[in-house]
């Protein structure tokens, strides 16, 4: 089964964030970059599923030239090759645009003989949190779509045939629903949005790192945004002056803490 995983380069934020001069994006100068946690799990699921069915994994991103780092990182853990759709201004694109552009690239690859049985994405990007690209992409491709999926198992007969074309087949997908683990059985090709929690992303091996350096990355240039980004601007939460009450240092402060817990009324009698 040949699988495409769509990932996104995002700033690796842990502390305070600041806005750039335009006020429409965060200032990511000086920050490292990574892919979203959900996407790392999607890459892991893709590698496992491709290995089980004898297929290949391709990673795709829309972003600046530097986003090739995230593609190479995915190759480093086991993806086979990458696709970069380059734009210097990813923030200009709304979820509609991104879905449309990825859809166009998927169709272009299919014409060139590279078709995907399964397209995986993260459930939502950690920065914009739009929750829309997987579903919008599925409508564009006219594929069925699931979101919030944590594990996958390919059913028998889901291998690509020897010609490498999308030969159909199905996949079982599991995610957490309100009443327990929900199981879906999906005909391929399909789009699936992956949620963190079902698999642990692997670390790159030495040979993986070597392979990543030589990874084959197909390049596209992103077209002008269509619908565009509905964002008017970003705002940071007001910096509320917080007065922390230090109850003390070390075990001697335990009594003061228990007083607070008693006041709140959360200690079981």
């Amino acid at each position: 089964m040949d699988i495409l995983v769509c990932i996104k380069r995002i700033p690796d934020i842990s502390g305070q964030i600041t806005l750039d001069a335009s006020g429409t994006d965060i200032d990511d100068s000086g920050l490292g970059h990574t892919a979203s946690a959900h996407e790392e799990c999607a890459v892991e699921l893709a590698i496992q599923t491709a290995a089980a069915t004898g297929g290949k994994v391709t990673v795709l991103t829309l972003g600046p030239a530097e986003a090739v780092e995230q593609l190479r990182a995915a190759v480093g853990v086991g993806a086979n090759d990458g696709i970069l759709i380059e734009t210097e201004d990813p923030g200009a694109f709304g979820p509609e645009d991104i879905a449309q552009i990825i859809g166009d690239v998927i169709r272009d690859r299919a014409e060139g003989g590279q078709s995907f049985d399964l397209v995986l994405l993260g459930n939502d990007a950690a920065d914009t949190g739009d929750f829309q690209v997987p579903i919008r992409l599925a409508y564009d491709l006219e594929y069925p779509v699931l979101t919030g999926i944590q594990t996958l198992s390919a059913s028998a007969g889901s291998d690509s045939d020897s010609s490498g074309s999308s030969a159909g087949g199905s996949i079982e997908a599991r995610g957490i629903g309100p009443a327990g683990t929900e199981i879906f059985s999906l005909e391929l090709p399909a789009v699936i949005a992956v949620q963190e929690g079902g698999v642990d992303p692997r670390y790159p091996s030495i040979t993986g790192r070597m392979k990543a350096k030589k990874a084959r990355i197909a390049e596209y240039v992103a077209p002008e945004p269509g619908a565009g980004n509905p964002r008017i601007g970003l705002e940071l939460p007001p910096d509320t002056a917080n007065e922390v009450t230090i109850l003390g240092e070390g075990p001697d402060a335990a009594g003061a803490l228990v007083d607070v817990l008693e006041e709140i009324g959360v200690i079981r009698s």
């Binding site: 920065d127 240092e249 200690i267």
Partner: protein, 340 residues
């Protein structure tokens, strides 16, 4: 009119998150109407729009008397009750189409930002040709404000369509009851297109739910959080004893689940659970924004940390500076001795 997708729990009661969404819809009714350039009402339509400002609810599956009562107290004027064989098992496109069929042409459709809510509203947006805004926290004449970066920043945006499709961020609004209404109940039994049933739930494994059950965490009045500072998989003894004394739940940072020390179901933060306890006691957690995103709903925040300058201590209401094992051990002992 604003149509709200309402989720009910296993007892048939309106989910807290849906009560939040209904309250948001009611209290932001005018801001949720489409914004015209001159602010004037849209008189170009031949069909009269439903009375603006009203809130209608859509419930899929069983509709209990308790839920009807609660919807009445939340100011719902009309309940659309969807019940059909095709909708019995969840399939997002089928449910979304049923919602689209009763959605107003002008106004808003919204849901709480739960997994179901997010998925359904995106399908609704696709099927109505609208944009969608996820995790909205406020609406006014200038547009919408939504959470991004897991709540560390807000995005101001404008949806330009006649129908605003959005989800509400959890805890963006407190549920508030109003003068009870006498809601009209309309029952619909839609048939779904075969294509929309391809993604239906084949079966649900309830027996494995315990492994993934986050309800203890999201409903606990007291949550004890543990981070990397715990030190190892075997370092949770004191923390778990404190959880027990408080009849609460354990919540952990992403580092802890990443290291495989605890299951993902216990993770609190942007990609874990978002919690709203009366008290959150963060033990050895520095306060990365991804973690803070999950605990902003905590009423009282207590930090136990060796680093006085850490974000967690700076954001806390109360803090003890010290090693978590020593401090939590002493707290447990104090609770035991007071209990006698």
């Amino acid at each position: 009119m604003t149509l709200v997708f309402v989720e009910t729990d296993e007892n048939g009661e309106v989910a807290l998150t849906s009560a939040e969404a209904l309250t948001f819809a009611r209290t932001n009714a005018s801001a949720l109407l489409p914004q015209l350039p001159d602010g004037a009402p849209d008189t170009s339509r031949e069909v009269a729009a439903p009375p603006s400002g009203s809130t209608e609810a859509v419930v899929v599956g069983p509709l209990s008397e308790e839920a009807v009562g609660e919807l009445s107290r939340l100011g719902v004027s009309r309940i659309h009750h969807l019940e059909s064989a095709d909708l019995e098992a969840y399939s997002a496109p089928a449910w979304a189409q049923a919602i689209v069929d009763i959605a107003p042409e002008t106004g808003a459709v919204l849901a709480s930002g739960t997994p179901r809510g997010m998925e359904l509203m995106t399908h609704v947006a696709m099927r109505t040709g609208e944009r969608m805004a996820a995790n909205v926290v406020a609406a006014d004449e200038e547009g919408l404000l939504r959470q991004v970066l897991g709540g560390a920043a807000f995005e101001r945006l404008q949806l330009d369509g006649d129908l605003q499709v959005l989800t509400l961020a959890g805890h963006a609004c407190n549920p508030e009851e109003t003068t009870p209404t006498t809601p009209e109940i309309l029952t619909h039994s839609p048939e779904s297109a075969a294509e929309d049933l391809r993604t239906r739930v084949v079966r649900t494994e309830v027996e494995t739910a315990a492994d993934n059950d986050t309800s203890g965490l999201t409903q606990a009045r007291a949550v004890v959080g543990a981070g990397r500072g715990v030190g190892s998989e075997n370092g949770f003894g004191e923390v778990l004893e404190l959880v027990d004394h408080l009849g609460g739940a354990l919540g952990v940072s992403r580092v802890v689940t990443g290291l495989g020390w605890r299951p993902h179901s216990e993770q609190v933060g942007q990609t874990g659970s978002r919690i709203t306890p009366d008290v959150y006691i963060a033990c050895g957690i520095s306060g990365a924004i991804q973690h803070m995103a999950g605990i902003e709903g905590a009423k009282t925040l207590i930090a136990i940390n060796t680093d006085e300058e850490s974000t967690m201590v700076q954001r806390a209401d109360y803090a003890i500076i010290g090693d978590l094992h020593e401090v939590v051990g002493a707290v447990n002992e104090e609770i035991r001795s007071r209990r006698g």
